[in-house]
């Protein structure tokens, strides 16, 4: 049984990574080939694993070993192969393989060609590891590792300042989400006593965990998904992440990594099912994200950014679906949400990957991201244009493409909740609109930048083949989930009990109409130009500006979060240097000053007494140095005075001399004053003649 060796699936790309970094780095061609070989091998294994899983009727396979083994503290690492995993493996390896092949063409002539493939392999390793993980701890490890590779790949062209900024932003923003995830993990560790999925879910099922804890833990875990899947309010990194090479955007920021959040929610569905509140939060966040991103997508001009917002929007869709499932199930209802979410995750990977690769192909041809500078490219690059439009149809939810089936299920899932239903349909409309706006502006009409148009050309074969393959998948991938199939996707990937979808023709019809109307509006505005886009923009100027500026999220974060943190950091640093360290140095300084006092006084009394103003005030502080006058008789006097003070105070201890301390204090004070007066008088008297400073 190959499934036993499923742990090799992630390890194969890792092997590729290691080989490239240490041995093949200097041989570009070989690096690429090796990397592709490993991912293809992984793909083959994934297919076999899928078949075996099907053969087992979805029964899970689990294997683990101990990672840390301490008394009362155990961490494990292991693999869990169940239908969800098997499907995700297929998705990741397929898109991965396509992207790698595509990249050979896209990245050629790049000085860091080998490194690109190394990073891709590393990413695939992490992503596959994330997918096969059998517990929360391990998923977190790979969760972070995909973050790392995302960081490396976004910053692949780090000479560009925007790329350098974007990679940092991506990493830190997702880490903010991971923060919550971490806390969720601690709660799981503490309240559930294990990280293992099975163990945790069993505890939830037993009902021994207080509901509040489950809610809190699920929301915290969901924070991770929010970060990774670029959900509101942590969505800001994903559009910026488009600074990376386009294949990266396709693979990581469209098909796989960003879907990890959805995967996480799906994976821990049993947890969410335990808490209606948490699920509702999930659904609401998904809806907000989806709607917000879609609306931003309406007005963007950067081809990749439109796709990025589309991605955010679609992810929000999935999240919403999952959340609704959890909510319904927690209320003992039935919902196709889980099926819808995972199914959409699966189909989305293909068409969104395709969209990005197509966009990459376009960018490769015209060397710009701005759709306002494109136009009419269909004549120059047929394959790209056709595949791109297939994907656009798919994402717009046009029958019978993959997107139609999955989106339809999401609509079905939302159908019990009016607000969600309206939102969902609105989003579907916007999606169709902005995707087709993109298509029309890019491929149809007249070239708006003749120079770029002249230089445009179809991409090489190793780039177009993956496009074609993915286009095919975008069409047929959804057919495994046809509502009329008896043993379809839903009866393979499910949560709880198997779900049997039934065709709701009304909903299908509505969603199809919504999609078509979106396309038609785009057609009117950007192809026929019967409705002026500019006029619309002018008319809804505030809304347009708001959308164009992405609801000002970046600005708000900058003002509310980043700048204060940096200011606090600077303040802390000053505080550290001045106050904390100042205290330490101050002690030393005081000691030295104290030690200085005497010298100070001596120079002062010789010179200053002549000037003679305000000297009494300074005396008090200067006692120590002041005593080392060099006069032996003064020393003797000093001895005597101290002696008497000692004596009197000792005696007072037994009250032999009642009231004498008072007397002696007065006495000592008086003596000191007298001493000062007479001394200064003498000093003044003899200061004329001799100079005896040997300092």
């Amino acid at each position: 049984m190959i499934t036993k060796f499923a742990f090799l699936i992630p390890l194969l790309p890792l092997f590729g990574f290691v080989m490239i970094v240490f041995f093949l780095r200097w041989k570009e061609r070989l690096s690429a080939v090796f990397s592709i070989m490993t991912i293809l091998a992984a793909w083959v294994m994934s297919v076999i694993v899928l078949i075996e899983t099907l053969a087992r009727h979805g029964e899970a396979y689990e294997a683990f070993y101990k990672f840390v083994d301490l008394p009362r503290f155990i961490l494990e690492i292991g693999i869990l192969i169940d239908p969800l995993t098997a499907v995700m493996l297929i998705v990741v390896t397929t898109v991965g393989a396509c992207v790698e092949i595509y990249s050979v063409g896209y990245m050629h002539n790049d000085p860091r060609f080998s490194r690109f493939f190394a990073y891709l392999s590393l990413f695939l390793f992490s992503m596959l590891g994330l997918v096969v993980a059998n517990n929360f701890f391990m998923i977190f490890i790979f969760w972070e590792l995909v973050g790392l590779t995302s960081y490396l790949l976004i910053g692949f062209w780090f000479e560009k300042k925007s790329a350098a900024d974007a990679c940092k932003k991506a990493f830190i923003t997702t880490r903010m989400g991971d923060l919550g995830f971490l806390v969720g993990l601690f709660m799981i560790a503490f309240y559930f006593g294990t990280f293992n999925y099975g163990g945790v879910f069993a505890k939830v099922g037993e009902g021994v965990i207080p509901a509040g804890i489950i809610t809190a833990a699920s929301i915290f875990v969901f924070c991770g998904a929010v970060g990774k899947s670029a959900q509101w309010p942590l969505h800001v990194w994903l559009p910026d992440a488009m600074e990376g090479p386009t294949p990266v955007s396709a693979l990581i920021h469209a098909a796989t990594m960003v879907a990890a959040g959805v995967y996480l929610v799906a994976r821990s569905m049993s947890l969410f099912v335990g808490s209606a509140e948490a699920s509702l939060v999930v659904a609401i966040i998904g809806l907000i994200t989806s709607f917000m991103a879609a609306s931003i997508g309406l007005v963007q001009n950067d081809i990749k950014r439109v796709l990025a917002y589309s991605t955010v929007s679609q992810l929000g869709y999935m999240i919403m679906a999952l959340g609704l499932y959890g909510y319904d199930t927690a209320q003992h209802g039935h919902s196709p949400g889980f099926y819808a979410g995972t199914f959409h995750l699966y189909t989305h990977a293909f068409f969104k990957g395709l969209l990005f690769l197509g966009a990459g192909s376009v960018i490769h041809a015209v060397h710009t991201n701005d759709i306002q500078e494109m136009g009419g490219l269909v004549r120059k690059m047929k394959t790209t244009a056709i595949t791109f439009m297939i994907a656009s149809l798919s994402i717009a939810g046009i029958f019978p493409l993959a997107g139609f089936w999955s989106k339809d299920e999401i609509v079905a899932a939302a159908s019990h909740h009016p607000i969600f239903l309206v939102g969902t349909l609105g989003i579907a409309f916007m999606t169709a609109f902005y995707m087709w706006r993109l298509c029309f502006l890019t491929f149809w009409g007249e070239p708006r930048d003749q120079h770029r148009y002249d230089h445009a050309h179809e991409s090489p074969k190793n780039m177009t083949y993956p496009l074609v393959f993915l286009a095919v998948m975008s069409v047929i991938a959804g057919w495994v989930g046809l509502p009329w199939l008896h043993q379809g996707f839903a009866s393979f990937v499910y949560h709880g009990e198997a779900y049997h979808p039934h065709a709701n023709y009304l909903l299908m019809g509505i969603s199809l109409i919504v999609g078509l109307s979106g396309i038609y509006l785009a057609y009117l505005m950007y192809y026929k130009k019967s409705i002026s886009a500019e006029a619309m923009a002018e008319r809804f100027r505030p809304i347009y500006k708001l959308l164009y500026n992405k609801y000002y999220f970046d600005e708000i974060y900058h003002a509310v979060l980043i700048r204060p943190v940096l200011a606090v950091a600077d303040f802390m640093w000053t505080f550290d240097a001045r106050v904390v360290d100042g205290l330490v140095n101050g002690t030393g300084w005081l000691t030295i000053k104290w030690s200085d006092i005497k010298l100070w006084f001596d120079t002062w009394i010789v010179d200053g007494a002549v000037n003679g103003s305000g000297w009494l005030v300074r005396q008090g502080a200067n006692i120590l140095r002041f005593l080392q006058t060099g006069s032996m008789q003064f020393y003797a006097l000093f001895i005597l005075v101290v002696l008497i003070v000692f004596g009197v105070f000792k005696l007072e201890a037994t009250a032999v001399l009642v009231g004498w301390p008072f007397v002696s204090i007065i006495f000592v004070l008086g003596v000191t004053l007298l001493w000062l007066f007479t001394r200064s008088a003498f000093v003044r008297g003899r200061n004329g003649g001799q100079t005896k400073s040997e300092e």
Partner: protein
């Protein structure tokens, strides 16, 4: 206070001691001071006799008056110009020093009085000392106190050698 039994001689000597001592510390002419010191030392010798320490009195006269004071006069003559004595012979500590000393005396007086009342008045035996105390002292010096006696002679030797070394003028 057990003053009555000390007699008139004590008072005379005391007054002599205190007055001459005050002169020692206050006179301007250092030579006069030395003379007052001699007077004072004589008076102390008288006190010793009153206390039955005849040998000590003799030693006092011989050593102090005969040697130390004379030595000091020599030193004065060697070091200071007797004509130049216009400036005050006390330094800036004078007033303070006076206060301190008076205070010291007062505190000491109180303590002595209390101690006398508490302890010494109970112990005060006032038995006559051995009448042949010169003989006794001599015997002591040859027996129990032979060691300090020897050591003190080493001390004198050391002081002598040192004084010679220091006082000698080097022929450069």
């Amino acid at each position: 206070m057990a003053v009555g039994d000390v007699g008139i001689v004590f008072w005379i000597l005391s007054v002599a001691i205190i007055v001459s001592a005050c002169m020692v510390v206050s006179l301007r002419n250092i030579f006069h001071c030395a003379l007052a010191l001699i007077l004072c030392l004589f008076a102390v010798a008288g006190i010793f006799i009153l206390l039955g320490a005849e040998f000590l009195a003799a030693a006092q006269v011989l050593i102090y008056v005969g040697a130390v004071a004379i030595l000091m006069i020599f030193a004065i003559m060697l070091t200071s110009n007797l004509a130049a004595k216009k400036i005050t012979q006390t330094n800036e500590n004078a007033l303070v020093g006076l206060l301190v000393c008076v205070f010291f005396t007062l505190v000491g007086w109180v303590l002595l009085k209390k101690t006398y009342e508490g302890i010494w008045s109970h112990l005060e035996l006032a038995r006559p000392l051995p009448s042949d105390n010169i003989l006794t002292l001599g015997k002591y010096l040859m027996t129990q106190y032979a060691l300090p006696f020897e050591v003190v002679s080493i001390l004198l030797l050391a002081a002598m050698i040192g004084a010679i070394v220091l006082a000698r003028k080097e022929n450069a």
